[in-house]
Each structure stands twice: as C-alpha cells, then as structure tokens.
C-alpha cells in the first residue's frame, strides 16, 4: 500500500512537472502540437469511427497510454460484463474496444493486464457470450473471475457517509493502474449506468448498495479509489437496460468519451443517452463529494470527428 501510494504520488508529481514544463515551454515546442490547446484536455470526445479507431485517436489526444502507465506496472481493466448478451445486444462493453485497450496497455510497457467484472448472470457463460474473454485473451490479458467472495477484501472508504466499508476485488487493491471501461446504457432504477455505476462491478455485496441508498453508495465508492482513466463506450447504446431484452432497444451512436473525471463523463453521457442530468442522483452527489466536476463549461473538452 505505502509503496504504491508513493509511486502514485511520485508519478503524479512527475506528470504535473511535465505538464508545467510544457505550458511554459518555448514556442518551438508548442508549434509541434497542432491543436490550439496546449494543456491536456479534461475530456476527450470522439465520434464516427469503429470502437478501436476512436480509442486510438482518443488516447493519442491524451498523449498516449504512456501518460497513464509506466513500464513494468500492473494494470486492471474493468469493462462492463454484467449480462449474458452478444456484443450486438450492447449490454456489455464492446469486446473489440477492450482488446484495443489491452494492446495499448502492453504497448506502454505494462507487465500484466487483468480484465474482470463481477457479473450479474453466471460468470463463466457471461464472459464467453459477451466475447470479452476471447478478445482480452487474444491481446494477452489475464482474464480473472470475480464470482466468489474469496476474491474480495474489505477496505475502509475514507470520508464516506453510507458506504463506510466495502469488499473490493483484490486486483483493485493490488494493481498499479485502474482503467474503467463502462458501456453507456439506460438503467431501470438509476436511469443511467456509465462511469460511476460501472464501479459496482468491483465490489462483492451489491445487495448492500441496493438496500442502503443505491445512488449514494455509487457516488461514495470513488472516495476509496478513482480509476486512473475512464473510457465510455457509446458506440452502441441500450435505451432500455441494463439487461439486453431486444435488439430494437439498441441505438448506434458511434461515440466514445475519455477522461479521468467520471462525473464529467456521466454528465456528457447522460446527454448522449437523452436523460435529464437532474434525474441521475449519483451525479450530483459525486460532484458535491468532489469526485469530479459536473459543470462541463468549466472543463477543457476536445472533440474529435473522424
């Protein structure tokens, strides 16, 4: 724990130093960047491409996966693999996107890349039918189960009011870099599942969430750990979810969002989904807790059209 914290701090300090050196750097350095924003964007939105292509472009705009992963680090990629559904059903994250993310992680020098989700349906079948197990393995990722309590360890959530303690998958505790890859969907009770809601898949007792103020628990979890990067898959979105019951509910939006700020991502995603931000309670709670910023006007958004 201590060592990891040290590395994280050291790394973020280095990143800050790097950014500040760029901002005050010579015109020659800035001229190399064709974009008008010299600062790294807060949120990157990409559209009109395949999930892989959109990710390639999106992560490039961030300065590559190297900005997030240093050589030899372990990475955990957490897609949404909740339901037994084909990729067309849009209930689970696009497998091709997961594969491309894993490839970028290894490209940046990651020593190991883990992929898992605490599924709602039978785990082994869901991993197989979603296509994610196969895709991730093709990119040499280690696919890990999360369907038994012994994978989880109890942690304290600092500053939480409702979710004081939570059992978290051991890989979230152990891995150096945490990448969250939700798929944007309508959700029957929280109205939308995206960046923040996707993190319910790293905890054991979801019944506790449901029993004890669902939205507040969702918003409080990142007080324990925030993903280092969140990639929202809005290529195909499900307008009557979270479970895929009919292909008629799937709409192709051809979009992808990347950011470190899950609250900002959820606000932007709610607009793609066409859901009122005020109706999604966890966004406001997350903003108030300082998990992220829900005022998109205050953010530096880079929009890329392919």
């Amino acid at each position: 724990m201590n060592r990891r914290d040290f590395f994280k701090k050291a790394f973020s300090l280095m990143a800050v130093a790097g950014i500040s050196s760029i901002t005050k750097s010579t015109p020659l350095f800035a001229a190399e960047k064709d974009s008008e924003n010299i600062k790294t964007p807060d949120l990157i939105a990409v559209k009109n491409g395949t999930p892989e292509k959109m990710f390639d472009e999106g992560i490039k705009a961030f300065g590559g996966m190297e900005k997030f992963i240093r050589k030899g680090q372990t990475v955990v990629v957490k897609p949404n693999i909740a339901w037994i559904a084909n990729p067309e059903g849009a209930a689970d994250t696009n497998p091709a996107l997961v594969k491309r993310i894993v490839e970028h992680c290894f490209g940046a020098g990651a020593s190991r890349v883990y992929v898992f989700d605490h599924t709602c349906d039978d785990s082994i079948t869901t991993y197989r039918v979603s296509g994610i197990e196969k895709a991730a393995k093709e990119a040499r990722a280690t696919v890990v189960q999360a369907n038994k309590e012994s994978y989880y360890q109890e942690v304290r959530v600092p500053g939480a009011h409702t979710l004081k303690n939570v059992k978290v998958h051991e890989l979230i505790l152990e891995s150096d870099v945490f990448i969250n890859v939700p798929i944007l969907k309508h959700h029957g009770s929280t109205r939308m599942t995206c960046a923040l809601k996707n993190l319910m898949g790293v905890v054991w007792d979801r019944g506790y969430y449901h029993r004890t103020d669902l939205e507040r628990c969702i918003a409080e979890f990142p007080l324990y750990r925030k993903p280092d990067l969140t990639i929202v898959d809005a290529y195909n979105i499900l307008t009557d979810g979270p479970r895929s019951r009919s292909l008629k509910d799937v709409v192709r939006k051809n979009m992808q969002l990347l950011s470190k700020d899950m609250v900002a991502l959820d606000v932007a995603s709610s607009k793609i989904l066409g859901e009122e931000v005020e109706n999604i309670k966890y966004i406001k709670i997350g903003h108030d807790l300082g998990i992220g910023n829900s005022n998109l006007e205050e953010l530096n958004i880079k929009r890329i059209t392919l």
Binding site: A45, K47, N48, I84, R112, Y114, C120, D121, D122, S123, I124, T125, V129, T142, V143, V144, Q145, N147, K148, S150, Y151, H187, G188, S189, T190, R206, G207, Y208, H210, R211, T212, D213, L214, E215, R216, T239, D240, P242, R243, R245, S246, K248, D249, V250, V251, R252, K253, N254, M255, V267, A268, K271, I272, G274, N279, K281, L296, I301, R303
Partner: protein, 513 residues
C-alpha cells in the same frame, strides 16, 4: 465360441464409458454428448419410454434387452457406472492385499426377486421411485454428487488459492454441493453396503439388491452366449472360481450360474487348460437348466405377501397425498410439465444439479412430499434459473425434464412473480433500489414512478416465467419483497409487446454537449 481377448475389450470399454459418464457431471463435455453418453443407461431409457413413449428410448431399451438375450448381462460389466465403481474398489483391494480369492456362493434368489417385485409393484402403482432410487446409474450419480464432486471441489479450490498467490488465474473457484444429513442417511447406508459387499464378496450388490441386475439376470439365464466349463478338460483347480467377482462359478460341480454371471470375462484368461469358454452351449439334457430356476413355492408365497404389504404402503402414501397441501412446494424445473409427472419420472441422479451453472437446482428433502423425497427442486435462495440456459433439459436421462428448445423454454412459466410492497426497500427506506427489475429477463418486473425521483417495482405476472432472479437478488431483509409463486402445472408465459425501435439506427449526430 467368441475368440480374442474379451477381458481386455471389456476393461477398455468400461473405462472409457465410465470416464464419459463422470465427465457428464462436469463442464468438460458439450450437453449433446452428455445426453448421448447417458443413452447407455437402461433404467433411464425405460422410464423415458414408459412415461413419455419416446420411440428412440424404446428402441434402445429393446436393443439392450436383445444384447442381454444374446450375450448375457454385458450391461453390468460394460455399461454400468456403479459396476465400474465396484470394479475399482475390487482392484484397489487386489493391489493392497496379496490374495483376494472369491468362492462360489449360492444365488440369493429370494432376496433378489423380492426386491424386484417391490420395484415392479411400485412402477405399476405409478411411482418409479424405488426403481429410480436403486437404479445403479442414478445411485452412481449420487456418489458423484456427494463424494467425487466435493473431493474435486476441495482439490480445485486449494489449487486455485495457491496459484492465485502466484498471480496465476487459470482455475475457477467451484461451489461445494449442499449436504443434508437426512438425505445422506439412506445414501450412506446403501453406499456402505456396496463398499462392504464389493470388498468382501465382489459384485454381491449386483446379485442381491440391484433390481436391474435381477431383471438382466433372468434374461441371461439362457442367453445365446454363455460361460461354459468343458467338463472333460477341467481339473477343478478352482482358479477361475477364485477370480470370479460374481461368485457364480462352481469349480467342484464344474457349473456356472449364468443368471449371476456379469460377463466380466476374468475367468477366460486364467484357465491353463482352456476349459472355460464363452460360447453357444451345446444342447443338454433339460435337468441341467432346471436347476438354475429355483423359484420354489415358498419363494412364491413370500413374494406374494411382499407384494401385498407394499401395495398397502403405497395406498397409504396415496391417501396421505390427496388432500390439498397447506403450502406451495418450490417450482419444478422448466420442462418438467407438472409436479406429479416430474416426481414420477425423476430418479434423483443429480446430473442436472451438477450441470446447473447457477446452483438453483438443489436436492430436496420433503419439499415435494414423501413421494418426491430427495429429488431436485428450484431453490431461489441459492440461485436463479438462467434465461438462456437449457442444460438440465438437455442432459436429463429419464426425460423427467423434457428436452425443449431454448426458445420454447423461454416461454415456460414455472411460477409467477409476487411483489410484497411492505417489505420493499423503496417503500421502507425511501431510497432507490430496482435490483429485481434490472435482473428480470422478461419485463415481468419493471419500475414505475413513485415519489419524486423514486421508482418502485410493478409486476405483470403473465409475462413472468418464474425464473426466480428477482427473488434471488432482492436485497430486502429479513424477508424478500419479491417472490415466485409456484405453478404446480406449468403454463405458457405471454411475451410483452415491444415498443417500436426508439430511433432509427446509424445516426450521425453532433455531440450534445
């Protein structure tokens, strides 16, 4: 006479089929292959034919009977997994002890016939339970469920833990089967008998208790091919008798009791003088054959009273069952049509229990009453029936769970949803939940506006298939706020009308932010 190394043929066949039957209880094989593997088991074929009139089952059953008439009880040594289990025990004993000698014993005709008649009477009175419980395949299934599976789970899970410590995630954690002391008692008693018999007296279980062994024995008394001793070249050295697991060779009289002989062919290879052979017998004087059928008058009377006694018990059970039950039993698996049919066909082999990916199928105790004791039931506290899964329908060897297709299964309503608002988290705590609606595969449970931003479940029971997902995930404590009410007779669920697609596909819109 049949030439070649028959023992080698028997042993290889037995090992391969035995392995396939064991694999059928685990994830290794595709379900279709499992179903084919289990088409080799006579009692399940018989039940499938008697109850469902399936022509294929009849055909295979007749085929097995013909094989028995031609070759004798080859089922017992080639096909029977419980026989394989006993052969392993006998082999272990032979390896550990220097000498294991079997010796001739008179057949236990009285006991054999009594048990068989009990079983037949119970079939006639409409219950396949006794023959199902004593069916060697089904009993072997219980051995897998209660002995082999726990052993494999423990080894697998400790291996998984060690590998995980080394960051290797190659194994999956498996779930231990549930144990109930009451269900285990008769199982352990019979298992103890089998183990004791096989270590002391070889295949005595097959020649005393097993009703299938008795039936096949009757058919093989005069099978076309029999084990015969050539009296002129036999020296009565007794070596064949000492290796005979069925204890049916009398080396002094130089006779073989072909109704007890399980056709293991161990005797053929040991005879120095080639005096013992598997061949078509030469016509002999009638007196010789008469000896094997010793159903005396006393036996007949004994059996007769046995039948009377059993019918009495059966009638009593019937009368007990008839009044309407004060509670609803748990639902039966989709494809079992109704409770009555399911109970009458299931032999509690637990193949479905071991193949169920969500562990919703669990051995019951008295949930289905005395007649359905131990057979699997749907337990929505331990799991729920996966919408896309038809594993139990595909594997069930007795067709107690009929092999409907996936699309048909998705419409079978084994129960209907019942929402109890007073227990619901939304009503009690005024916080959102929706766990039931999110997991519902059929839109039988959806959320409707309640107070402010709150949403509360609402149900349409006619859409419900009774999969129990909502009951399983409902986080309300101590009582579940949503449960499944059993349909004793399964119905067909209605499909919800779908709204038209919300928007046209493939839209090139701009970012809405």
């Amino acid at each position: 006479m049949i030439k070649g190394n028959l023992k080698l043929l028997r042993v290889s066949f037995e090992i391969i089929l035995f392995a396939f039957i064991i694999f059928s209880f685990f994830r290794f094989l595709p379900e279709k292959l499992k179903a084919i593997t289990l088409k080799t088991q006579i009692i399940p074929l018989l039940i499938s034919f008697l109850a469902e009139g399936f022509f294929l089952s009849l055909l295979l059953f007749v085929l097995f009977m013909l094989l028995t008439i031609i070759f004798g009880r080859i089922y017992c040594s080639f096909f029977c997994p419980l026989g394989g289990f006993q052969d392993i025990l006998i082999r272990i004993k032979r390896k550990t002890k220097k000498i294991t000698k079997f010796s001739y014993h008179k057949p236990l005709t009285l006991l054999k016939l009594t048990i068989l008649i009990f079983a037949i009477i119970s079939i006639i009175s409409g219950s396949l339970y006794l023959i199902g419980y004593l069916d060697p395949y089904s009993f072997f299934g219980r051995i897998v469920n209660y002995l082999l599976k726990p052993a494999i789970v423990i080894i697998n899970n400790s291996g998984e833990l060690i590998l995980r410590k080394a960051n290797i995630y190659a194994l999956h954690i498996m779930t231990l089967p549930t144990f109930n002391p009451l269900a285990l008692t008769p199982f352990i008693l019979i298992l103890g008998t089998i183990i004791y018999f096989s270590l002391k007296r070889g295949r005595l279980y097959c020649n005393s208790i097993c009703p299938l062994g008795t039936i096949l024995g009757i058919f093989s008394i005069r099978s076309f091919y029999r084990i015969e001793i050539d009296k002129s070249s036999c020296t009565s050295c007794g070596i064949c008798e000492s290796v005979c697991k069925a204890e049916c060779i009398n080396s002094i009289d130089k006779t073989v009791d072909n109704s007890s002989c399980i056709r293991c062919f161990n005797c053929l290879n040991v005879c120095t003088f080639s005096a013992i052979k598997y061949k078509r017998p030469i016509k002999k004087k009638k007196t010789d054959n008469k000896k094997t059928q010793n159903l005396s008058r006393r036996n007949f009377l004994y059996s007769f009273f046995g039948i009377l006694g059993f019918s009495g018990i059966n009638l009593l059970l019937r009368n007990k069952k008839s009044p309407i039950k004060p509670y609803l039993p748990p639902p039966t698996p989709p494809g079992s049509i109704n409770l009555e049919e399911y109970i009458s066909k299931c032999t509690a082999c637990y193949l479905c229990v071991n193949n169920c990916p969500t562990n919703v199928l669990q051995p019951s105790l008295f949930q289905y009453g005395l007649k359905g004791v131990f057979i699997p039931h749907m337990d929505f506290y331990s799991g729920y029936c996966s919408y896309d899964c038809i594993k139990c329908l595909e594997v069930c060897p007795t067709d107690a769970i009929l092999p409907y297709t996936k699309e048909e299964k998705k419409k079978i309503q084994i129960g209907t949803v019942k929402f109890i608002k007073d227990f619901c988290v939304v009503y009690r705590n005024n916080t959102n939940c929706g766990a039931c609606a999110e997991i519902c595969p059929t839109a039988a449970v959806t959320m409707k506006p309640y107070k402010g931003l709150l949403l509360i479940p609402t149900t349409t029971p006619s859409f419900c298939i009774g999969c129990g997902a909502c009951q399983n995930v409902c986080p309300a404590k101590p009582e579940k706020a949503i449960v499944v009410k059993t349909n004793i007779v399964h119905k067909e669920a209605k499909k919800p009308k779908r709204k038209r697609a919300t928007q046209q596909k493939e839209i090139k819109e701009d970012f809405p932010f």
